[in-house]
Symmetry: C2
Subunit: 636 residues, 2 copies
């Protein structure tokens, strides 16, 4: 077993068998994007690829045994992540069909919906789409404009797009393939609105023509994801049977009387959204997977490509340059860090989704964490893939070397599931209200009013290996020691302490809203918005460091463990360096210690440089997915 094997095992996590199986099966399937195809051809090809996935068992894993699946949520999410190492269009198409559309049917529907749709959607006998976003509402989905009005005379819902801004937009599958949509719309019955619910709406007939009242449109070319047929949907009083309401959280009887197990309209909606968490988890993990491919390519190129050197006859490889080490190694370290954090997230999600009666507090924590990690991972992917492209120069700009495709495809992941700032804000809200179930929604006014009313202490719950972390913190050397920034306990304590301070000061600012009217409360929130969002950012950095620390403790190979320790310090110090002014200004790091940070990082780079190949091999990206022409050619 090589050192890179040990690393791979360490970050493969609990669903390693799924990863190993995918690496083998997917490598044989010719999945890399072909830029010579037209949109139409690329879309047709990806649909064929999906048919190949059915046999792998991954699609069925996402559904409970009762509903017709095999009941392995962790496998489903891990399988999606693995697709992302090959082609993000395929990952998104699979995610839409089995994750979003299928997830809506299973989680928002009841037995009859399961019986009617799940087997068929697993096998692709039904192609669905997930019609939530509208042209006018992407992040604020509680305010969608599409209506579903119950007509008791025919026992039908009438689905309608009353305005231009209410058309469904960016919907994967809407442009070509989907024959049915899970449509989110305001449920109205007996003249009263009950908030957003989900309805199954047929879109096309067997020949692919729009059904009466349905208008499908094509979003056309995008920044990437060429094989995903994103489109728009507009409904002109389209009638669907009453049974097409996915009625787990809201039911309308024949006479039009509404009932729901959850009375509060806010809580009801966010409970519904909460059941769809798998999408958010998959987006973050898939962005990280794509990022690992890019870093694997750039790392290998940096070990091969020579430019300049001590003299004309001795050009050295790019990776021997301090600046190139600076460009790539911290990003590789962060990718390892995020993988540990993502594995932990998937494990928690899996266990929660298998539970009969999931703890609501735990569910909210998971939602907040999924939102924060989604933002952190997708931004990291955006940054790292960009850096990987630039680090490969002109070669990096050619499609044959894959980096620009990874870049274009992954770009929208910062927008998927809601803009990243909205994601961070959502997590911050959970943190600032200690996951109080009373504060549903994303509503800023609700947040500040709640925060103002409750002088609750900020929760500082450790996310992993709590005892180990406490031991490390207790054992940290005194503050005076020049070298203690390299100590894990010191790093953990700095991250914890910063989070506590940032959260407490944010809460204090928001409490000024006590007794104010909505407008004033909103203004207080808005003036502090950058501070509020920062809460999530520093929280995520802390839980990621904890996950990394716990992951190292689980690693069984001493040599790999040592390498991971060095990598973890690089992660921690890079994050500290990027926020150094805060640590200095708040007397957490003295001016003298602060000046050592850059040198400490450079020392770590020197230690890690010889392991560059091992580190990128540790990501376990299959050779076929690395298929960059510049890595294959001789004599450069």
């Amino acid at each position: 077993m090589t050192l890179s094997d040990e690393l791979r095992i360490s970050i493969d996590g609990k669903w390693r068998h799924v990863r190993e199986q995918s690496r083998k099966e997917l490598a044989e399937m010719d999945l890399l994007y072909d830029h010579d195809l037209t949109l139409k051809e690329a879309r047709a090809r990806v649909l064929e690829q999906m048919k190949g996935l059915v046999a792998t068992g991954m699609p069925a894993a996402g559904f409970s045994v009762e509903a017709g699946g095999t009941g392995d949520p962790g496998m489903a999410v891990t399988g999606i992540e693995m697709l992302a190492q090959f082609d993000l269009s395929l990952m998104v198409k699979a995610g839409v069909q089995w994750g979003l559309f299928g997830g809506a049917i299973e989680n928002l529907g009841t037995q009859s919906h399961h019986d009617r749709y799940i087997k068929d959607l697993i096998n692709l006998d039904i192609l669905g789409c997930f019609a939530m976003s509208e042209t006018g509402h992407g992040s604020n989905v509680q305010n969608l404009e599409t209506t579903a009005t119950y007509d008791p005379s025919t026992q039908e819902f009438v689905i309608d797009s009353p305005t231009f801004s209410s058309r469904k937009d960016y919907i994967g599958g809407a442009a070509e393939h989907a024959t049915v949509a899970a449509v989110f719309a305001q449920l109205i019955t007996k003249g009263e609105g009950h908030g957003v619910h989900c309805f199954v709406v047929p879109l096309r007939d067997d020949e692919g023509n729009d059904l009466p009242g349905v208008t499908t449109m094509d979003d056309g070319h995008k920044g990437g994801l060429g094989a995903v047929d994103n489109g728009r949907l507009s409904f002109d009083h389209v009638r669907i049977p009453r049974e097409n309401l996915l009625n787990r959280y809201g039911h309308v009887d024949e006479g039009g009387t509404y009932s729901s197990p959850i009375d509060n309209v806010n809580r009801r909606f966010f409970t519904m959204l909460g059941t769809l968490i798998r999408g958010r988890v998959s987006v973050g993990g898939s962005a990280s997977a794509a990022c690992e491919v890019a870093l694997s390519i750039a790392g290998r190129y940096a070990l091969k490509r020579r430019q300049f050197g001590p003299d004309d006859d001795n050009e050295i490889v790019l990776m021997d340059y301090r600046m190139h080490q600076r460009r790539l190694l911290p990003l590789i370290a962060r990718s390892y860090a995020y993988r540990f954090a993502q594995n932990q997230l998937v494990a928690r999600m899996d266990s929660l989704q298998r539970s009969e009666h999931p703890d609501p507090q735990k569910a909210r924590e998971l939602e907040g964490r999924a939102a924060g990690l989604k933002a952190a991972q997708t931004w990291h992917a955006t940054d790292a893939i960009q850096e990987a492209r630039e680090a490969c120069g002109g070669a990096g700009y050619l499609a044959e070397n894959r980096l620009t495709t990874l870049k274009g495809d992954s770009d929208v992941f910062t927008t998927f599931e809601g803009d990243n700032h909205v994601m961070f804000q959502l997590l911050s809200k959970e943190l600032l209200t200690s996951y109080a179930t009373e504060v549903g929604g994303l509503d800023a006014v609700g947040l500040v009013k709640f925060a103002a009313a409750t002088a609750t202490d900020v929760v500082k719950e450790r996310t992993a290996a709590s005892n180990l972390i406490q031991r490390l913190i207790d054992a940290r050397p005194g503050k005076g020691d020049d070298h203690d920034l390299m100590d894990r306990g010191t790093q953990l304590s700095l991250f914890e302490d910063r989070e506590e301070h940032v959260l407490e000061t944010a809460a204090r600012r928001l409490r000024r809203a006590a007794g104010k009217d909505d407008q004033a409360a909103f203004e207080i929130f808005n003036a502090a918005q950058d501070h509020v969002i920062r809460c999530a950012r520093v929280h995520v950095q802390r839980i990621v460091l904890e996950a990394f620390t716990a992951g190292i403790a689980r690693c069984e190979d001493p040599e790999a463990q040592e390498l991971l320790r060095t990598l973890c310090s690089l992660y921690a110090l890079t994050e500290i360096e990027s926020d150094l002014a805060w640590f200095m200004g708040h007397n957490r790091i003295s001016d003298a210690r602060a000046k050592t940070v850059t040198n400490l990082i450079n020392d770590l780079l020197d230690q890690l440089r010889p392991h560059t190949l091992t580190l990128v091999e540790g990501f376990g990206v299959p050779e076929q997915s690395l298929g960059a022409a510049m890595l294959l050619t001789e004599g450069q």
Copy 2:
């Protein structure tokens, strides 16, 4: 005259007439990229567009009257920048034909070459390409492998690509259109090498077939610039007449005797490169132009798009959010700053290129500055276009809204003319050696050895309005004043002072190489590489702030001047904020003052928020180029 007109006039600079003319003429030409075309169709279309440009007079402006042009370098570069506001493929194609290929003929050739090629290349009767980069050498072009060996028996040069890595790569025009190439190759005569020179090599016959010994290849799909036919060239002992050597800086007589006006081989090569500076200037300016388009689109969208708000019925526009202001306004401020700096650079270049006997020291300063501003502007474009895309959410990801095209097209500008880190390193070298002409090349060992041998003081030459800047610095309030960070003199002094310190400490580190061998000298350089590159970064920030300050002084409208002042402070404080740890750690900004920086920035955002539309209108991007569907539709 509106306030935005005044802003536009202020940043249009000396070649305002060219900008005004371009805005009118180009708007009528249907230049925006069409993603429905195949590569081949897109390439054919851009060639037609180029023909339309000939009549505008822009192509002729780039050549001296003697050579057959109209002799207005500033107009030529400004004209290229204006193309970048419409389509970067067209900008690159035009830049290759008239800037790079034409520039090589004019600047490296002599009268007979001018007579033979210039008129024809202006009118597109000859289509050329600029074959410098090789698969194995992009940044280190002094070490190109292609050879041009003189054969006195036939009075021909034999052009050869001896290795795989010596094939010319990423060459715009090589895949399809170019019939002739300016090929950079090692000149060898009488068994002796004289360094890289440029040769005119015919590539294709009238039917477009490769000429004997020439192999052209297609680089295929790229991350953007779809209409640019980048390709590869390989030469198998291709014979060209002796006269095809562009012989201004190196001549071979019939018998094979080499002569040059510049003895030193290093200096000769870098003098040759120096004459091609216009490419570098155009790349930086064009990246900024594309960036202005993206910010104009995102700024307008942020004023139109509503999401969330104090309550469900009162959603507010994105631009009213603190976070959205934070995302966009500092980037807009930096774009203004760079435009002032770019205008100054173009004016200096213009004056130097019009001069009969340009001052070599000034020429080197210009080269260094062009390199630094190219890096700064292209990175800014990469960041800002990315942010603009994300700030427009899902809509920003659709090609119809232009941002992804701007992103994909501009991405490679950080690589053009050499990787940005190499560009910064080149500027740093000039700064650390006080523009000493003895230190030609990019050679790290040469740099450290020179820096070690000469204890020369770092030059602190002000780049603009020196008296004004000194007055502002002298008049700055005392350090103790809490509000002095808003004072321009304080800001200027902080930037100057930081640059001096960073340069001096870098020079001190390099001086340790005194007396060491090449390998040891290189290692000393490499260990300090991040520090060396930082010299250029802080220098560029200083000269940009100076250019902004000087630009404000030239503005004649008091209201516009006031707005620019606020914008300039936002630029300065954002740069200070991003390097705050340095200013604190070096006792330039106290901990207490440091804590005010974020609040000062937020105050500036409040002041600038009402002017968002005015500010983006000030960029003067023509309506046609803003053609984003999401801005045109109603009812969002």
